[in-house]
Amino acid sequence: MAEATIETFQIPRKKKFAKKAKKAGFILSIITYPLILFAVFYVYVNINSILMAFQQIKLDGTITWVGFQNFVEFWNQMFASEDSRAEVGVAFINSFKIYGISLVICMPLYILFSYLLYKKCLLHKTFRALSMLPQIISGFVVCMLFVNFINGSDAPMYVIQEKLGIFLDENGRPAELLYSQKYALGTTIFYGIWLSFGTNLIVYPNAMKEINPEVVESSRLDGVTTSFQDLWHIVLPLIFPTISTFLITGLAGIFSNGGSVMAFYERNAPIHVLNMGYLYSRMILNNETTAYPTLAAGGLIMTAFVAPATLLLRWFLEKFGPTTEA
């Protein structure tokens, strides 16, 4: 009797083990390769980057340890006075300007436009499809078309500037919008904003579409009558997780996004339009190996700025952002 009991327990145990082994085999077969890639191309790359920040690479490839020299050098470049400000300093400030402008101008516009599309305004489907045009027909093609549109004395924009008397240089003639010290940064930022609506006009209306119609109906009974009230009291709190995700990832990418500067100027961007993302890409493109350690040190300094700021923003949004719970 006792033996029989042992037998009945042994068979399920074996089965259970086989089941667990199969499950483990399945999981390992999927996660092993991506995790190895992650270890090499993310973890090791970043560890190497940290080590590189304390090194100096000479032209013949010799590596020497220099302590915090690269950090000091980058810091001085970043916060140099306006007269002696190096490329890094200008790029650092411009990166903040670009993020700030996109936050203040773009985000409200994305939400307002999306709200209109969510409310199924006239031609809403056409608007959504058209807003994706730059992504569909290629960012660089649109960029080149934009350049042809605004650059040169026979370009349409030149004629518009001349006729309306806007965007003029010191001599009262239409300024070169892509190269003028006064307008170039504004032009690149405008272009970035102009192109950025596509994906946002898909994501936000889709998030709004998830709102329960009963909530909207009951809000009407509670006195929510206008679009603004509806947007402020109902829509914004309910799509806040989506807004929050874009705010956080936007801040996280503040020093990595090069925007369209590479497309406009390739390696020859004037100093006043530089941003950190472009600067890094250009230095890698130019294979400036000797500058790598300073860039790595700069990367760590900027990470020290952005990482806590991103986490702080996330905490702030979670703590003080609108909530749908009673």
Binding site: I31, F41, N48, F127, Q135, S138, G253, A263
Partner: protein, 355 residues
């Protein structure tokens, strides 16, 4: 004398005309009550109170009307704004297509008008002229570059979507040691960037022989496939599906792969298609990665980028020929988008960052 019972409140939906009539009626009642003020003291107070409520309601109605008009104007302005924006997006591609059909001579006098005669020579010429010589060793024709674009866009996007899907499936459906850690790392690297690792990545890629090698770059591409918006999108899609489907497969004798391939993959296919199409569009148009990481194998985007930059001096080509090249390069992406437009517009949603 009838009892005074007023049902109008400030927020109730009563037309202003009815409120006006009610005020007249109440004033009439008040007049009658004041004939004997001592007897009707309480009733007079009540009527005066009701008249006040009616007047407030009238004010509220007026404000609401103003708000509705303002709301209408606000929506209308916003609509005009979005219309102008969309038109501005259309102008450049239309100009590109019209220019592509113009004779170079005609273009010098008629830059923005309709072509006098549709000229297809530019499309033929661009195929002949668009050649890129890399490091003085090999010359790439437009066909070569188109082939590189197709292979890179398809394989790179496919590998990326496949690994992202598998990781999203395992992390959303299975409980195992380290699962939460992997998920948290994915979220952390998404929101806490490590800046300036590009130079280090370049050195390591050179050391491993991955630099300037498209095949190795594609297969080592998904190093952060458990992070990013695409991962979150697929993670959410799998999370919303019940585990019962897998149980049914196990009962029928199927394994974990069967459950994934037969049950969950088909259900996640629409979301995967959206990610694939958007990824394909991005890869097809990506010239910057080729400029930095694969300088000796140019794709069509990089070829055209270089071509338009030096076209007049080096290739003796005209703006209409460059525009013809641009028109050719956008045909595959426009076709792909039109085929999957409905899916993209409905499936692309982003939630919060939990973890």
């Amino acid at each position: 004398m009838e009892e005074i019972d007023l049902r109008i409140s400030k927020y109730s939906r009563v037309p202003t005309k009815d409120v006006d009539n009610e005020i007249i009626r109440l004033e009439d009642v008040l007049y009658k009550l004041r004939q004997d003020p001592v007897e009707n003291e309480e009733k007079i107070e009540k009527v005066i109170e009701n008249i006040e409520i009616c007047k407030k309601k009238k004010g509220y109605n007026a404000k609401e009307k103003t708000r509705t008009v303002a709301d209408y104007i606000f929506r209308y302005l916003l609509w005009v704004f979005i219309l102008v924006y969309c038109l501005s997006l259309v102008i450049l591609p239309v100009w590109m297509i019209l220019t592509a059909f113009k004779d170079p001579l005609e273009f010098s006098t008629n830059q923005f008008g309709w072509p006098e005669q549709f000229n297809f020579d530019n499309f033929v010429n661009v195929f002949d002229k668009l050649k890129i010589e890399v490091l003085g060793k090999r010359t790439y024709t437009m066909w070569d570059m188109a082939l590189i674009s197709i292979v890179y866009s398809f394989s790179g996007t496919f590998v990326g979507v496949m690994f992202t899907t598998l990781m999203a499936y395992v992390l959303s459906k299975y409980r195992f040691f380290g699962r939460n850690l992997i998920y948290s790392i994915g979220i952390i690297i998404m929101i806490v960037p490590i800046i300036g690792s590009g130079p280090s990545a370049m050195m390591i890629r050179r050391a491993l022989g991955i630099y300037d090698n498209i095949f190795l770059s594609v297969i080592t591409g998904p190093s952060t496939c458990f992070s990013g918006l695409n991962f979150l999108l697929l993670y959410g899609a799998f999370k919303s599906l019940p585990w019962d489907y897998a149980e049914a497969v196990f009962v029928d004798g199927g394994g974990h792969w069967s459950a994934f391939l037969k049950m969950y993959l088909p259900m996640a296919l629409p979301t995967m298609t959206v990610i694939f199409v958007l990824g394909f569009l991005g890869s097809w148009n990506d010239y910057e990665s080729f400029m930095i990481w694969f300088p000796s194998t140019p794709n069509l985007a990089l070829g055209l980028y270089k071509f338009q930059g030096v076209s007049q001096a080096l290739y003796k080509s005209s703006v209409p020929e460059v525009m013809a090249g641009f028109t050719i390069v956008i045909i595959p992406t426009v076709t792909l988008y039109l085929l999957s437009q409905r899916l993209i517009l409905s499936k692309f949603t982003v939630g919060g960052l939990k973890g």
